[in-house]
Protein backbone atom coordinates (compact mmCIF):
# COMPACT_ATOMS: atom_id res chain seq x y z
CA UNK A 1 0.00 0.00 0.00
CA UNK A 2 1.52 3.29 -1.04
CA UNK A 3 1.36 6.34 1.16
CA UNK A 4 2.34 8.90 -1.45
CA UNK A 5 -0.04 11.63 -2.43
CA UNK A 6 -1.59 11.90 -5.81
CA UNK A 7 -1.11 15.13 -7.74
CA UNK A 8 -3.40 17.96 -6.66
CA UNK A 9 -6.46 18.34 -8.81
CA UNK A 10 -6.64 14.68 -9.76
CA UNK A 11 -9.87 14.24 -7.83
CA UNK A 12 -11.46 17.55 -8.86
CA UNK A 13 -15.11 16.69 -9.40
CA UNK A 14 -16.07 16.01 -12.97
CA UNK A 15 -19.23 13.97 -12.63
CA UNK A 16 -21.35 12.62 -15.43
CA UNK A 17 -22.98 9.49 -16.75
CA UNK A 18 -21.45 7.62 -19.66
CA UNK A 19 -23.62 7.58 -22.82
CA UNK A 20 -26.60 5.25 -22.40
CA UNK A 21 -25.51 2.84 -25.11
CA UNK A 22 -22.02 2.60 -23.63
CA UNK A 23 -23.47 1.76 -20.21
CA UNK A 24 -25.75 -0.92 -21.64
CA UNK A 25 -22.88 -2.40 -23.66
CA UNK A 26 -20.66 -2.50 -20.58
CA UNK A 27 -23.42 -4.10 -18.53
CA UNK A 28 -24.22 -6.70 -21.18
CA UNK A 29 -20.59 -7.65 -21.61
CA UNK A 30 -20.18 -8.05 -17.84
CA UNK A 31 -23.34 -10.16 -17.60
CA UNK A 32 -22.17 -12.39 -20.45
CA UNK A 33 -18.72 -12.92 -19.00
CA UNK A 34 -20.12 -13.80 -15.60
CA UNK A 35 -22.78 -16.12 -17.04
CA UNK A 36 -20.14 -18.06 -18.91
CA UNK A 37 -17.46 -18.01 -16.23
CA UNK A 38 -18.72 -20.80 -14.05
CA UNK A 39 -18.63 -24.47 -14.84
CA UNK A 40 -22.11 -25.10 -13.50
CA UNK A 41 -23.49 -22.34 -15.70
CA UNK A 42 -21.95 -23.88 -18.81
CA UNK A 43 -23.27 -27.25 -17.70
CA UNK A 44 -26.83 -26.03 -17.49
CA UNK A 45 -26.51 -23.87 -20.61
CA UNK A 46 -24.81 -26.24 -23.05
CA UNK A 47 -23.86 -29.62 -21.66
CA UNK A 48 -27.28 -30.76 -20.42
CA UNK A 49 -29.10 -29.84 -23.65
CA UNK A 50 -26.43 -31.57 -25.74
CA UNK A 51 -26.67 -34.71 -23.59
CA UNK A 52 -30.46 -34.59 -23.89
CA UNK A 53 -30.15 -34.33 -27.67
CA UNK A 54 -27.56 -37.07 -28.17
CA UNK A 55 -29.14 -39.35 -25.56
CA UNK A 56 -32.63 -38.81 -26.96
CA UNK A 57 -31.64 -39.47 -30.55
CA UNK A 58 -29.65 -42.60 -29.66
CA UNK A 59 -32.42 -43.95 -27.40
CA UNK A 60 -35.15 -43.24 -29.95
CA UNK A 61 -33.14 -45.06 -32.61
CA UNK A 62 -32.38 -48.08 -30.40
CA UNK A 63 -35.88 -48.43 -28.99
CA UNK A 64 -37.57 -47.63 -32.28
CA UNK A 65 -39.75 -44.93 -30.72
CA UNK A 66 -42.03 -43.34 -33.26
CA UNK A 67 -41.93 -39.56 -33.21
CA UNK A 68 -44.86 -38.85 -35.56
CA UNK A 69 -42.88 -40.32 -38.42
CA UNK A 70 -39.99 -37.81 -38.14
CA UNK A 71 -36.33 -38.71 -37.86
CA UNK A 72 -35.43 -38.58 -34.15
CA UNK A 73 -32.90 -35.75 -34.60
CA UNK A 74 -35.45 -33.66 -36.50
CA UNK A 75 -38.13 -34.30 -33.90
CA UNK A 76 -35.91 -33.69 -30.86
CA UNK A 77 -33.67 -30.75 -31.84
CA UNK A 78 -36.42 -28.08 -31.66
CA UNK A 79 -37.32 -29.25 -28.15
CA UNK A 80 -33.69 -29.24 -27.07
CA UNK A 81 -33.35 -25.68 -28.33
CA UNK A 82 -36.46 -24.81 -26.33
CA UNK A 83 -34.83 -26.40 -23.28
CA UNK A 84 -31.71 -24.30 -23.84
CA UNK A 85 -33.75 -21.10 -24.09
CA UNK A 86 -35.58 -22.02 -20.90
CA UNK A 87 -32.43 -22.87 -18.97
CA UNK A 88 -30.80 -19.52 -19.72
CA UNK A 89 -33.80 -17.20 -19.67
CA UNK A 90 -35.32 -18.75 -16.56
CA UNK A 91 -32.91 -20.79 -14.43
CA UNK A 92 -29.62 -18.99 -15.04
CA UNK A 93 -31.20 -15.55 -14.99
CA UNK A 94 -33.17 -16.21 -11.80
CA UNK A 95 -30.20 -17.64 -9.92
CA UNK A 96 -27.80 -14.92 -11.06
CA UNK A 97 -30.27 -12.16 -10.23
CA UNK A 98 -31.11 -13.69 -6.86
CA UNK A 99 -27.47 -13.58 -5.84
CA UNK A 100 -27.03 -10.09 -7.27
CA UNK A 101 -29.75 -8.98 -4.89
CA UNK A 102 -28.19 -10.87 -2.00
CA UNK A 103 -24.73 -9.39 -2.61
CA UNK A 104 -26.11 -5.87 -2.78
CA UNK A 105 -25.06 -5.50 -6.41
CA UNK A 106 -28.49 -4.33 -7.53
CA UNK A 107 -28.55 -1.84 -4.70
CA UNK A 108 -25.06 -0.58 -5.59
CA UNK A 109 -25.85 -0.26 -9.29
CA UNK A 110 -29.04 1.52 -8.22
CA UNK A 111 -26.79 4.36 -7.02
CA UNK A 112 -24.72 4.38 -10.22
CA UNK A 113 -25.61 6.35 -13.35
CA UNK A 114 -26.99 3.15 -14.94
CA UNK A 115 -30.81 3.40 -14.96
CA UNK A 116 -32.95 0.34 -14.30
CA UNK A 117 -33.90 0.12 -17.95
CA UNK A 118 -30.19 -0.05 -18.77
CA UNK A 119 -29.65 -2.76 -16.18
CA UNK A 120 -32.49 -4.76 -17.70
CA UNK A 121 -31.26 -4.24 -21.25
CA UNK A 122 -27.80 -5.32 -20.14
CA UNK A 123 -29.27 -8.51 -18.73
CA UNK A 124 -31.20 -9.15 -21.93
CA UNK A 125 -28.02 -8.56 -23.94
CA UNK A 126 -26.13 -11.06 -21.80
CA UNK A 127 -28.94 -13.60 -22.18
CA UNK A 128 -29.04 -13.27 -25.94
CA UNK A 129 -25.29 -13.73 -26.27
CA UNK A 130 -25.40 -16.89 -24.15
CA UNK A 131 -28.38 -18.16 -26.13
CA UNK A 132 -26.54 -17.53 -29.38
CA UNK A 133 -23.66 -19.66 -28.09
CA UNK A 134 -26.14 -22.37 -27.11
CA UNK A 135 -27.84 -22.35 -30.52
CA UNK A 136 -24.51 -22.57 -32.32
CA UNK A 137 -23.28 -25.51 -30.23
CA UNK A 138 -26.56 -27.43 -30.19
CA UNK A 139 -27.19 -26.69 -33.85
CA UNK A 140 -23.73 -27.92 -34.78
CA UNK A 141 -24.19 -31.16 -32.85
CA UNK A 142 -27.63 -31.67 -34.39
CA UNK A 143 -26.34 -31.04 -37.92
CA UNK A 144 -23.59 -33.58 -37.35
CA UNK A 145 -26.32 -36.06 -36.41
CA UNK A 146 -28.17 -35.37 -39.63
CA UNK A 147 -30.61 -32.62 -38.61
CA UNK A 148 -32.39 -31.10 -41.60
CA UNK A 149 -34.56 -28.24 -40.40
CA UNK A 150 -37.13 -26.54 -42.58
CA UNK A 151 -35.24 -23.57 -44.13
CA UNK A 152 -38.14 -21.13 -43.68
CA UNK A 153 -38.60 -22.55 -40.19
CA UNK A 154 -35.19 -21.26 -39.12
CA UNK A 155 -36.50 -17.76 -39.71
CA UNK A 156 -39.83 -18.45 -38.00
CA UNK A 157 -38.06 -19.98 -34.99
CA UNK A 158 -36.41 -16.69 -34.12
CA UNK A 159 -39.53 -14.79 -32.96
CA UNK A 160 -40.71 -17.94 -31.15
CA UNK A 161 -37.43 -18.14 -29.22
CA UNK A 162 -37.54 -14.42 -28.42
CA UNK A 163 -41.10 -14.62 -27.13
CA UNK A 164 -40.14 -17.67 -25.07
CA UNK A 165 -37.16 -15.78 -23.69
CA UNK A 166 -39.42 -12.89 -22.70
CA UNK A 167 -41.86 -15.24 -20.95
CA UNK A 168 -39.22 -17.17 -19.02
CA UNK A 169 -37.14 -14.09 -18.20
CA UNK A 170 -40.17 -12.34 -16.71
CA UNK A 171 -40.95 -15.38 -14.58
CA UNK A 172 -37.29 -15.76 -13.57
CA UNK A 173 -37.04 -12.12 -12.50
CA UNK A 174 -40.32 -12.32 -10.59
CA UNK A 175 -38.89 -15.31 -8.70
CA UNK A 176 -35.48 -13.73 -8.06
CA UNK A 177 -36.96 -10.43 -6.97
CA UNK A 178 -39.20 -11.86 -4.28
CA UNK A 179 -37.49 -14.92 -2.73
CA UNK A 180 -34.19 -15.21 -0.89
CA UNK A 181 -31.21 -16.19 -3.05
CA UNK A 182 -31.08 -19.77 -1.75
CA UNK A 183 -34.80 -20.27 -2.25
CA UNK A 184 -34.50 -18.86 -5.76
CA UNK A 185 -31.68 -21.30 -6.48
CA UNK A 186 -33.75 -24.23 -5.25
CA UNK A 187 -37.02 -23.25 -6.91
CA UNK A 188 -35.39 -22.30 -10.23
CA UNK A 189 -33.60 -25.64 -10.45
CA UNK A 190 -36.63 -27.61 -9.34
CA UNK A 191 -38.93 -25.94 -11.85
CA UNK A 192 -36.33 -26.53 -14.57
CA UNK A 193 -36.13 -30.25 -13.74
CA UNK A 194 -39.92 -30.63 -13.50
CA UNK A 195 -40.44 -28.90 -16.84
CA UNK A 196 -37.62 -30.94 -18.37
CA UNK A 197 -39.30 -34.16 -17.24
CA UNK A 198 -42.97 -33.34 -17.55
CA UNK A 199 -43.26 -30.03 -19.36
CA UNK A 200 -43.41 -31.31 -22.95
CA UNK A 201 -40.37 -29.27 -23.83
CA UNK A 202 -37.98 -31.83 -25.34
CA UNK A 203 -40.58 -34.48 -26.20
CA UNK A 204 -43.69 -33.43 -28.10
CA UNK A 205 -46.96 -33.28 -26.16
CA UNK A 206 -48.25 -36.32 -28.03
CA UNK A 207 -45.80 -38.43 -26.00
CA UNK A 208 -47.64 -37.55 -22.81
CA UNK A 209 -50.90 -39.31 -23.78
CA UNK A 210 -53.99 -37.98 -22.02
CA UNK A 211 -52.15 -35.08 -20.36
CA UNK A 212 -51.38 -33.59 -23.74
CA UNK A 213 -54.20 -31.02 -23.79
CA UNK A 214 -53.54 -29.82 -20.26
CA UNK A 215 -49.81 -29.43 -20.89
CA UNK A 216 -50.49 -27.01 -23.74
CA UNK A 217 -50.89 -24.15 -21.26
CA UNK A 218 -47.35 -24.55 -19.88
CA UNK A 219 -44.78 -22.10 -21.22
CA UNK A 220 -42.34 -24.98 -21.71
CA UNK A 221 -44.77 -26.92 -23.91
CA UNK A 222 -45.78 -23.77 -25.75
CA UNK A 223 -42.18 -22.92 -26.60
CA UNK A 224 -41.47 -26.53 -27.59
CA UNK A 225 -44.61 -26.67 -29.75
CA UNK A 226 -43.81 -23.36 -31.41
CA UNK A 227 -40.25 -24.38 -32.25
CA UNK A 228 -41.34 -27.81 -33.47
CA UNK A 229 -43.99 -26.29 -35.72
CA UNK A 230 -41.43 -23.88 -37.15
CA UNK A 231 -38.47 -26.19 -37.59
CA UNK A 232 -40.34 -29.40 -38.52
CA UNK A 233 -43.14 -28.03 -40.66
CA UNK A 234 -42.12 -24.46 -41.46
CA UNK A 235 -45.33 -23.09 -39.94
CA UNK A 236 -46.09 -20.49 -37.30
CA UNK A 237 -48.16 -22.10 -34.53
CA UNK A 238 -50.49 -19.38 -33.31
CA UNK A 239 -51.91 -20.94 -30.16
CA UNK A 240 -48.52 -21.67 -28.50
CA UNK A 241 -47.41 -18.14 -29.31
CA UNK A 242 -50.53 -16.75 -27.64
CA UNK A 243 -49.80 -18.91 -24.59
CA UNK A 244 -46.22 -17.58 -24.49
CA UNK A 245 -47.44 -14.00 -24.86
CA UNK A 246 -49.79 -14.46 -21.90
CA UNK A 247 -46.96 -15.90 -19.78
CA UNK A 248 -44.69 -13.05 -20.87
CA UNK A 249 -47.28 -10.46 -19.82
CA UNK A 250 -47.85 -12.28 -16.54
CA UNK A 251 -44.12 -12.57 -15.77
CA UNK A 252 -43.42 -8.94 -16.63
CA UNK A 253 -46.40 -7.82 -14.57
CA UNK A 254 -45.38 -9.87 -11.54
CA UNK A 255 -41.75 -8.79 -11.79
CA UNK A 256 -42.48 -5.08 -12.13
CA UNK A 257 -45.07 -5.23 -9.33
CA UNK A 258 -43.21 -7.34 -6.77
CA UNK A 259 -39.48 -7.11 -7.55
CA UNK A 260 -37.56 -5.91 -4.49
CA UNK A 261 -34.14 -4.47 -5.22
CA UNK A 262 -32.56 -5.33 -1.87
Amino acid sequence: MTQQETARGTFTPRPGAAPYTAMVRAQASMETRLLLRHGEQLLIAVVIPVIALVGGVVAAGRLGIDLDGHAPVDALTPGVLALAVMSTAFTSLAIATGFERRYGLLKRLGASPLPRSGLLLGKVGGLLVVQAVQVVVIGAVALLMGWSPDPLGLLLALPCALLGTAAFAGLGLALAGTLRAEATLAVANLVYLLLLAGGAVVLPRSSYGGASEVLAVLPSAALGDALRAALLDGTLAVLPLVVLAVWAALGAGLASRFFRWE
Partner: protein, 329 residues
Protein backbone atom coordinates in the same frame (compact mmCIF):
# COMPACT_ATOMS: atom_id res chain seq x y z
CA UNK B 1 -40.43 26.71 -4.24
CA UNK B 2 -37.50 25.54 -6.37
CA UNK B 3 -34.18 27.14 -5.46
CA UNK B 4 -32.71 29.64 -7.89
CA UNK B 5 -29.31 28.80 -9.38
CA UNK B 6 -27.51 31.25 -7.10
CA UNK B 7 -29.19 29.69 -4.06
CA UNK B 8 -28.17 26.25 -5.22
CA UNK B 9 -24.50 27.18 -5.43
CA UNK B 10 -24.33 28.63 -1.93
CA UNK B 11 -26.78 26.18 -0.36
CA UNK B 12 -25.43 23.37 1.78
CA UNK B 13 -24.50 20.17 -0.05
CA UNK B 14 -27.02 18.29 2.08
CA UNK B 15 -29.94 19.60 4.09
CA UNK B 16 -32.06 17.19 6.11
CA UNK B 17 -34.99 18.76 7.93
CA UNK B 18 -37.16 17.00 10.51
CA UNK B 19 -36.66 13.60 8.88
CA UNK B 20 -38.96 10.90 10.23
CA UNK B 21 -38.47 7.24 9.28
CA UNK B 22 -40.20 4.34 11.04
CA UNK B 23 -40.09 0.61 10.34
CA UNK B 24 -42.68 -1.22 12.38
CA UNK B 25 -41.82 -0.45 15.99
CA UNK B 26 -38.36 0.82 15.15
CA UNK B 27 -37.90 4.55 14.88
CA UNK B 28 -34.83 5.11 12.70
CA UNK B 29 -35.18 8.86 12.36
CA UNK B 30 -37.24 10.92 14.76
CA UNK B 31 -37.22 14.51 13.58
CA UNK B 32 -33.60 14.41 12.50
CA UNK B 33 -32.13 17.62 11.06
CA UNK B 34 -28.62 18.23 9.84
CA UNK B 35 -26.65 20.16 7.25
CA UNK B 36 -23.47 19.41 5.36
CA UNK B 37 -21.42 22.37 4.15
CA UNK B 38 -19.99 22.20 0.64
CA UNK B 39 -16.36 21.16 0.64
CA UNK B 40 -16.49 19.76 4.16
CA UNK B 41 -15.93 16.34 5.59
CA UNK B 42 -18.94 15.84 7.81
CA UNK B 43 -19.27 12.90 10.16
CA UNK B 44 -22.51 11.43 11.43
CA UNK B 45 -21.36 9.75 14.62
CA UNK B 46 -23.45 7.48 16.76
CA UNK B 47 -23.89 3.95 18.05
CA UNK B 48 -25.26 1.13 15.92
CA UNK B 49 -28.97 1.55 15.44
CA UNK B 50 -28.91 5.32 15.94
CA UNK B 51 -30.33 5.95 12.46
CA UNK B 52 -27.13 6.84 10.61
CA UNK B 53 -27.52 4.45 7.69
CA UNK B 54 -31.21 5.22 7.27
CA UNK B 55 -30.40 8.92 7.07
CA UNK B 56 -27.64 8.32 4.54
CA UNK B 57 -29.78 6.04 2.40
CA UNK B 58 -32.53 8.64 2.39
CA UNK B 59 -30.01 11.18 1.08
CA UNK B 60 -28.96 8.69 -1.57
CA UNK B 61 -32.56 8.36 -2.73
CA UNK B 62 -33.01 4.74 -1.69
CA UNK B 63 -35.76 5.64 0.74
CA UNK B 64 -38.52 8.19 0.56
CA UNK B 65 -38.80 10.38 3.68
CA UNK B 66 -41.93 9.51 5.65
CA UNK B 67 -41.79 12.95 7.24
CA UNK B 68 -39.65 16.04 6.79
CA UNK B 69 -37.56 16.85 3.75
CA UNK B 70 -34.18 16.00 2.27
CA UNK B 71 -32.26 18.03 -0.31
CA UNK B 72 -28.97 16.92 -1.78
CA UNK B 73 -27.09 19.37 -4.02
CA UNK B 74 -30.38 21.24 -4.09
CA UNK B 75 -32.21 18.24 -5.53
CA UNK B 76 -34.92 15.93 -4.23
CA UNK B 77 -33.08 12.58 -4.05
CA UNK B 78 -36.19 10.56 -4.91
CA UNK B 79 -37.95 12.68 -7.51
CA UNK B 80 -34.74 13.94 -9.15
CA UNK B 81 -32.71 10.80 -8.64
CA UNK B 82 -31.53 10.40 -12.24
CA UNK B 83 -30.21 13.93 -12.20
CA UNK B 84 -28.54 13.46 -8.82
CA UNK B 85 -26.96 10.01 -9.17
CA UNK B 86 -24.11 10.85 -11.56
CA UNK B 87 -23.03 13.64 -9.21
CA UNK B 88 -22.72 11.56 -6.05
CA UNK B 89 -20.51 8.65 -5.07
CA UNK B 90 -21.95 6.00 -2.78
CA UNK B 91 -20.17 3.49 -0.60
CA UNK B 92 -22.54 1.01 0.97
CA UNK B 93 -21.92 -0.65 4.30
CA UNK B 94 -21.25 -3.98 2.65
CA UNK B 95 -21.59 -5.88 -0.58
CA UNK B 96 -22.23 -4.17 -3.86
CA UNK B 97 -20.58 -6.49 -6.37
CA UNK B 98 -21.18 -9.78 -8.17
CA UNK B 99 -19.88 -12.65 -6.07
CA UNK B 100 -17.73 -14.00 -8.89
CA UNK B 101 -16.42 -10.71 -10.26
CA UNK B 102 -12.72 -9.93 -9.86
CA UNK B 103 -11.93 -6.85 -7.77
CA UNK B 104 -10.37 -4.71 -10.49
CA UNK B 105 -12.83 -5.96 -13.09
CA UNK B 106 -15.65 -4.63 -10.89
CA UNK B 107 -13.95 -1.27 -10.44
CA UNK B 108 -13.38 -1.01 -14.18
CA UNK B 109 -17.05 -1.78 -14.76
CA UNK B 110 -18.26 0.99 -12.43
CA UNK B 111 -15.76 3.36 -14.06
CA UNK B 112 -17.25 2.54 -17.48
CA UNK B 113 -20.66 3.81 -16.32
CA UNK B 114 -19.24 7.33 -15.84
CA UNK B 115 -18.34 9.99 -18.38
CA UNK B 116 -14.98 11.07 -16.96
CA UNK B 117 -13.82 8.37 -14.55
CA UNK B 118 -10.55 8.47 -12.66
CA UNK B 119 -7.84 6.19 -14.01
CA UNK B 120 -8.60 2.78 -12.48
CA UNK B 121 -4.91 2.08 -11.99
CA UNK B 122 -4.54 5.15 -9.80
CA UNK B 123 -7.20 4.00 -7.34
CA UNK B 124 -5.93 0.42 -7.43
CA UNK B 125 -2.54 1.68 -6.36
CA UNK B 126 -3.77 4.20 -3.80
CA UNK B 127 -6.06 1.72 -2.09
CA UNK B 128 -3.72 -1.26 -2.34
CA UNK B 129 -6.08 -3.25 -4.52
CA UNK B 130 -3.23 -4.62 -6.62
CA UNK B 131 -2.78 -7.31 -3.98
CA UNK B 132 -6.21 -8.75 -4.81
CA UNK B 133 -6.96 -7.42 -8.30
CA UNK B 134 -7.81 -10.83 -9.77
CA UNK B 135 -9.46 -12.25 -6.67
CA UNK B 136 -13.21 -12.94 -6.95
CA UNK B 137 -15.25 -10.60 -4.78
CA UNK B 138 -16.55 -13.33 -2.46
CA UNK B 139 -12.97 -14.27 -1.50
CA UNK B 140 -11.85 -10.73 -0.62
CA UNK B 141 -11.30 -9.98 3.06
CA UNK B 142 -13.66 -7.55 4.75
CA UNK B 143 -11.07 -4.80 4.55
CA UNK B 144 -10.42 -5.46 0.86
CA UNK B 145 -14.14 -5.31 0.14
CA UNK B 146 -14.30 -1.98 1.99
CA UNK B 147 -11.43 -0.57 -0.06
CA UNK B 148 -13.02 -1.73 -3.30
CA UNK B 149 -16.30 -0.17 -2.16
CA UNK B 150 -14.57 3.14 -1.55
CA UNK B 151 -12.82 2.99 -4.92
CA UNK B 152 -16.17 2.33 -6.60
CA UNK B 153 -17.65 5.37 -4.84
CA UNK B 154 -14.80 7.65 -5.89
CA UNK B 155 -14.06 6.49 -9.43
CA UNK B 156 -16.80 8.56 -11.10
CA UNK B 157 -15.28 11.83 -9.84
CA UNK B 158 -18.32 12.83 -7.79
CA UNK B 159 -18.99 16.21 -6.22
CA UNK B 160 -20.40 14.62 -3.13
CA UNK B 161 -19.40 11.37 -1.52
CA UNK B 162 -21.55 9.31 0.89
CA UNK B 163 -19.55 6.69 2.75
CA UNK B 164 -21.19 4.39 5.26
CA UNK B 165 -18.76 3.14 7.91
CA UNK B 166 -15.85 3.43 5.47
CA UNK B 167 -13.16 1.91 7.64
CA UNK B 168 -15.09 -0.81 9.49
CA UNK B 169 -13.03 -3.97 9.31
CA UNK B 170 -9.86 -2.22 8.16
CA UNK B 171 -6.59 -2.58 10.02
CA UNK B 172 -5.18 0.66 11.50
CA UNK B 173 -2.58 1.25 8.76
CA UNK B 174 -5.14 0.90 5.98
CA UNK B 175 -7.55 3.07 7.92
CA UNK B 176 -4.99 5.88 7.95
CA UNK B 177 -4.41 5.52 4.20
CA UNK B 178 -8.14 5.78 3.69
CA UNK B 179 -8.30 8.94 5.79
CA UNK B 180 -5.45 10.41 3.73
CA UNK B 181 -7.37 9.72 0.55
CA UNK B 182 -10.54 11.34 1.90
CA UNK B 183 -8.53 14.42 2.91
CA UNK B 184 -7.00 14.65 -0.56
CA UNK B 185 -10.45 14.43 -2.08
CA UNK B 186 -11.44 17.33 0.14
CA UNK B 187 -8.46 19.40 -1.04
CA UNK B 188 -9.67 18.87 -4.57
CA UNK B 189 -13.16 20.08 -3.70
CA UNK B 190 -15.10 16.90 -2.93
CA UNK B 191 -17.66 17.06 -0.12
CA UNK B 192 -17.81 13.93 2.03
CA UNK B 193 -20.51 12.69 4.38
CA UNK B 194 -19.46 9.70 6.42
CA UNK B 195 -21.14 7.68 9.10
CA UNK B 196 -19.04 6.10 11.76
CA UNK B 197 -19.18 4.72 15.23
CA UNK B 198 -15.44 5.27 15.67
CA UNK B 199 -14.96 8.39 17.71
CA UNK B 200 -11.38 8.68 16.53
CA UNK B 201 -12.44 8.71 12.89
CA UNK B 202 -14.82 11.61 13.43
CA UNK B 203 -12.35 13.49 15.61
CA UNK B 204 -9.43 13.21 13.20
CA UNK B 205 -11.15 13.55 9.89
CA UNK B 206 -14.27 15.63 10.17
CA UNK B 207 -14.71 19.39 10.03
CA UNK B 208 -18.19 18.99 11.38
CA UNK B 209 -19.63 16.24 13.55
CA UNK B 210 -23.30 15.45 14.08
CA UNK B 211 -23.79 13.24 17.10
CA UNK B 212 -26.82 11.05 16.50
CA UNK B 213 -28.76 8.94 18.97
CA UNK B 214 -32.21 7.34 18.71
CA UNK B 215 -32.85 9.02 15.37
CA UNK B 216 -32.08 12.56 16.51
CA UNK B 217 -29.07 14.83 16.32
CA UNK B 218 -28.08 15.45 19.94
CA UNK B 219 -25.13 17.78 19.28
CA UNK B 220 -23.39 19.33 16.28
CA UNK B 221 -20.17 21.22 15.79
CA UNK B 222 -16.53 20.91 14.93
CA UNK B 223 -14.76 18.26 17.03
CA UNK B 224 -12.89 21.05 18.80
CA UNK B 225 -16.00 23.08 19.54
CA UNK B 226 -17.82 20.03 20.81
CA UNK B 227 -15.06 18.88 23.13
CA UNK B 228 -13.56 22.20 24.24
CA UNK B 229 -16.71 24.25 24.17
CA UNK B 230 -17.63 22.96 27.57
CA UNK B 231 -14.36 24.08 29.14
CA UNK B 232 -14.40 20.82 31.03
CA UNK B 233 -12.26 17.80 31.40
CA UNK B 234 -13.10 14.29 32.36
CA UNK B 235 -12.05 11.66 34.78
CA UNK B 236 -12.72 8.07 33.77
CA UNK B 237 -12.77 5.54 36.55
CA UNK B 238 -12.92 1.77 36.17
CA UNK B 239 -13.04 -0.32 39.33
CA UNK B 240 -12.43 -4.01 40.04
CA UNK B 241 -15.84 -4.88 41.52
CA UNK B 242 -19.32 -3.52 40.73
CA UNK B 243 -20.03 -0.29 42.59
CA UNK B 244 -21.79 -0.64 45.94
CA UNK B 245 -25.41 0.51 45.90
CA UNK B 246 -25.71 4.27 45.88
CA UNK B 247 -21.98 4.87 45.55
CA UNK B 248 -22.07 6.88 42.27
CA UNK B 249 -24.85 9.12 43.66
CA UNK B 250 -22.81 9.67 46.77
CA UNK B 251 -19.81 10.72 44.65
CA UNK B 252 -21.99 13.20 42.80
CA UNK B 253 -23.09 14.67 46.10
CA UNK B 254 -19.54 14.86 47.38
CA UNK B 255 -18.31 16.65 44.23
CA UNK B 256 -21.15 19.09 44.38
CA UNK B 257 -22.35 21.65 41.87
CA UNK B 258 -20.67 22.01 38.47
CA UNK B 259 -19.60 18.42 38.27
CA UNK B 260 -21.47 15.58 36.66
CA UNK B 261 -21.14 11.89 37.41
CA UNK B 262 -22.34 9.52 34.70
CA UNK B 263 -22.23 5.77 35.33
CA UNK B 264 -21.16 3.97 32.12
CA UNK B 265 -21.77 0.48 33.42
CA UNK B 266 -21.64 -1.31 36.76
CA UNK B 267 -17.88 -0.97 37.02
CA UNK B 268 -17.05 2.34 35.37
CA UNK B 269 -18.12 5.94 35.45
CA UNK B 270 -17.15 9.29 34.02
CA UNK B 271 -16.83 12.51 35.96
CA UNK B 272 -17.23 15.66 33.90
CA UNK B 273 -16.29 19.03 35.33
CA UNK B 274 -13.28 21.00 36.45
CA UNK B 275 -10.49 18.43 36.64
CA UNK B 276 -8.25 19.77 39.35
CA UNK B 277 -6.49 18.46 42.41
CA UNK B 278 -9.50 18.90 44.69
CA UNK B 279 -11.75 16.87 42.40
CA UNK B 280 -9.17 14.09 42.36
CA UNK B 281 -8.93 14.27 46.15
CA UNK B 282 -12.71 13.87 46.48
CA UNK B 283 -12.65 10.88 44.13
CA UNK B 284 -9.87 9.13 46.01
CA UNK B 285 -11.51 9.79 49.40
CA UNK B 286 -14.75 8.35 48.01
CA UNK B 287 -12.87 5.23 46.84
CA UNK B 288 -11.59 4.75 50.35
CA UNK B 289 -15.02 5.31 51.96
CA UNK B 290 -16.74 2.73 49.78
CA UNK B 291 -13.82 0.34 49.66
CA UNK B 292 -13.69 0.33 45.85
CA UNK B 293 -10.40 -0.46 44.18
CA UNK B 294 -9.61 1.51 41.01
CA UNK B 295 -8.47 -0.61 38.11
CA UNK B 296 -7.77 2.43 35.97
CA UNK B 297 -8.17 6.14 36.45
CA UNK B 298 -7.60 8.47 33.52
CA UNK B 299 -7.94 12.18 33.27
CA UNK B 300 -7.96 14.39 30.22
CA UNK B 301 -9.86 16.75 28.04
CA UNK B 302 -13.25 15.59 26.83
CA UNK B 303 -13.46 13.31 23.85
CA UNK B 304 -16.42 13.04 21.50
CA UNK B 305 -17.25 9.89 23.40
CA UNK B 306 -17.59 11.91 26.59
CA UNK B 307 -19.73 14.47 24.80
CA UNK B 308 -21.98 11.68 23.58
CA UNK B 309 -22.21 10.26 27.08
CA UNK B 310 -22.97 13.67 28.56
CA UNK B 311 -25.71 14.30 25.98
CA UNK B 312 -27.39 10.90 26.04
CA UNK B 313 -26.35 9.24 29.29
CA UNK B 314 -25.22 6.25 27.23
CA UNK B 315 -21.79 5.21 26.00
CA UNK B 316 -21.10 5.57 22.27
CA UNK B 317 -19.54 2.16 21.95
CA UNK B 318 -20.17 -0.97 23.97
CA UNK B 319 -17.42 -1.54 26.51
CA UNK B 320 -17.07 -5.26 25.80
CA UNK B 321 -14.75 -4.80 22.85
CA UNK B 322 -17.27 -5.67 20.15
CA UNK B 323 -16.73 -2.36 18.42
CA UNK B 324 -15.37 -3.99 15.26
CA UNK B 325 -18.11 -6.54 15.04
CA UNK B 326 -20.90 -4.21 14.16
CA UNK B 327 -21.09 -4.48 10.39
CA UNK B 328 -24.69 -4.88 9.48
CA UNK B 329 -25.59 -7.16 6.58
Amino acid sequence: MPPTPSDAASAPAVRVQDLVMRYGDTVAADGLSLEVARGSITAVLGPNGAGKTTTLETCEGYRRPQGGSVRVLGLDPVRQRRELLPRIGVMLQGGGAWSGVRAVEMLRHVASLHAHPLPVGLLVERLGLDECGRTPYRRLSGGQQQRLGLAMAVVGRPELLFVDEPTAGMDPAVRRTTWDLLRELQHDGVTTVLTTHYMEEAERLADLVHLVDHGRVVASGSPLALTRGRGDATIRLVVTEPFPLGAPQSLATALGHGTEVTPVDERSLVVTGPADASTLAVVSAWCEDFGVVPESLTMGRMTLEDVFLAETGRPLAPTDGTIDGGRAA
